[in-house]
Symmetry: C2
Subunit: 398 residues, 2 copies
């Protein structure tokens, strides 16, 4: 995969003592050499981490120089001291490249309710600043520093040339605990671009892209205290803010990048053995389709059935029926891996072995639910529920 790194950014990661294995990075730094516009999308959880509270007060805005992120400790439910620690992290990150204390942003993932070991963090930021580089290695290291038990670093880069001018590059990293991780399914992501964007435009594009990507994945339905998606746009490719067709092109590329990044989260299955794609179609509106898709995606009985290659489609239809969305059960049809199992409210006889074999041993599973109530639809992604997931999540803090 070609890597397209935007101009004017540097990246690094270090091990500062948060993870027990000294070979693993646990703190990442992303800086813009020139002040950048920043936008952000954050967890709707009322109980949100201190970093979320700090960043949310700063974006959308301009003049940002640095984003620092750590794993192992979420700095959530940590009271007033937690807020002070998050503010200090953001300030140290910005100051490490000559910025002011309020030109930084911060993200944390890990255990809730424990205080950040600030001595390690301070040393870590200083060390990371010394390692900053505009190379691919620096970029990949930054992706590694926010991993929890993700099995691979997650990144996507894109490049396009609008009619209006210089080539624009976008590069995103993310971590997703998802099924694979013994902790909250915290999602952290940073996307950097050398496009120039107005702050409110950046915020609008990021929210739209998130809605169709990061907001269309779920693992166990637990919205973390710390979910954070940040976009930095420094205008290094061209200082003139994108507009018109060029802006629309950028929006499309950003959405593609977000979708590719987001799907990497349920696809990285340490505990999970299937990536389940759920298409809900024929709804009166997109919101209804999403509520149904989310309900199916988060249903333990659907997920265990897929884990066991069990074509127990009744669980899928039943889960849909509890989504709080009105529909006529007699107009519902369902396909599993292309096999039509339920049509207009009547079961279709099928060969269980053939359908089961289509699930077993294949990482991708496809559920299609059609309601014949309208023309809106949505695509949603999740994983299955395995004994490995339970094992991982049964012993984390202790």
């Amino acid at each position: 995969m070609n890597i397209y790194l935007p101009q004017g950014y540097r990246f690094s990661a270090v091990h500062c003592g948060l993870k027990s294995d000294p070979k693993l990075y646990d703190l990442s730094l992303v800086v813009s050499d020139i002040p950048a516009v920043a936008a952000g999308v954050f967890t709707p959880n009322l109980v949100c981490g201190a970093p979320v509270q700090v960043d949310r007060n700063r974006v959308p805005g301009e003049g940002f120089r640095a984003v620092v992120a750590n794993s192992r400790c979420a700095n959530a439910c940590t009271g007033e001291q937690g807020i002070r620690d998050a503010e200090e992290m953001a300030a140290l990150a910005s100051q490490s490249v000559g910025g002011t204390f309020h030109q930084g942003l911060v993200m944390s993932t890990g255990v809730i309710g424990t205080m950040l070991p600030m001595d390690k963090i301070r040393n870590g930021i200083a060390a990371a600043a010394a390692e900053l580089t505009a190379t691919e290695t620096g970029f990949l290291n930054a992706a590694r520093g926010i991993m929890t038990t993700d099995t691979v670093e997650k990144y996507v880069t894109k490049s396009f040339t609008p009619e209006s001018g210089e080539t624009i590059r976008l590069a995103g990293i993310c971590k997703g605990a998802a099924m694979i991780a013994p902790k909250l399914a915290t999602m952290l992501a940073v996307i950097v671009t050398d496009a120039a964007l107005e702050p409110l435009t950046a915020q609008r594009l990021l929210q739209t892209a998130a809605e169709e990507s990061f907001n269309c994945i779920s693992v166990e339905g637990h919205t973390s205290t710390s979910d954070t998606l940040l976009l930095l746009a420094n205008g290094a490719a061209s200082p003139i803010p994108l507009h018109g067709d060029s802006l629309e092109q950028f929006a499309n590329v950003l959405r593609e990048l977000c979708t590719e990044l987001a799907v990497k989260i349920p696809a990285d299955g340490e505990g999970g053995s299937h990536l389940i794609t759920i298409d809900v179609e024929g709804c009166p509106n997109r919101e209804d389709a999403k509520r149904i898709a989310r309900k199916v995606a988060e249903d333990a009985l659907v997920k265990t059935a897929i884990c066991g290659a069990d074509p127990n489609w009744g669980r899928i239809v039943s889960a849909a029926g509890t989504a709080g969305v009105p529909f006529n059960p007699k107009k519902v049809s369902l396909k599993l891996n292309g096999f039509e199992l339920f049509k207009n409210g009547e079961p279709i006889p099928f060969d269980k072995k053939i359908v089961s074999d289509s699930i077993r041993g294949h990482r991708d599973t496809h559920i299609q639910l059609t309601f014949n109530e309208g023309n809106a639809g949505i695509r949603f992604w999740t994983t299955d529920l395995t004994t490995e997931y339970v094992r991982l999540n049964s012993d984390y803090t202790t």
Copy 2:
């Protein structure tokens, strides 16, 4: 435990070939020797079983003679034929004791989307009618006939004597797949009493009792297609409908019986290793408290933590924050098995080993969440999430 059976009822169960093990009952019959008033509470799932559709059109009402219930096949998502089969089951049950075709009620639990083997059902009802008895054995057999992988039959009986007259008895049976069962967490329950009740009174009392009992348990958040709670009141103890203090006494006893029955569902843990009691207090109203309690109860990360005796209390507070109920995180406090771990938004240092030991090896776990936003509260019950649950639910229909 003393068993108090109401007058004028008979019970039986048979093996009619639905379960593969011929030693296991799979069809139960409960009859009233005189026409009884019936009330019912049913699943809110839009995709509901044919028996639910049939019963819901009949209760509350009077003149009922029989309830028939089968396991192994839910008769849900079975189209028009499913409705005809459910109506025939109800009719055969009533006719088997001399009633008319519309004096029966029906309940089914099991796999969704497969048709009832009606030949077996017809023979089963005839055989069950021949076995009817007013003895404790008949009652316990009826409780066994609706078991799926419940490890014990579930029943509660009560007796009280109101000032107004004759001793009143109530007897309830239920099955709960819950954590313990490789299928939807279908809940079926039948309560019979020899009190006399007006139909609409019976319905009101049953709904109130269900709200504080069966509606306060959850396993994985999947509301089945088939949840059914029926109450029969035949007036055999005294034909005069209860009213005033006697009715209030009855309502209290009914609520106690429903609560004791309901808690048996999460408590019966084939897959589950803990019964988790969740007290949510200090909310502005009961509905808010319930939404928070349900969110915590259904959270995979909370449940896996308890499974692993991991005092990872941050997951509990985080789950509460996503319930859609407004509260101030700085006013939240949390106790786990009596240990205060979070107070007014600040973490309290604690000995992880001591708290972990209080979870490990003890079947009961107690979570107390206090919000300091009002005076309403609720008690909710659930189980933990174990590898055994996943194993059981990964291979059911095939």
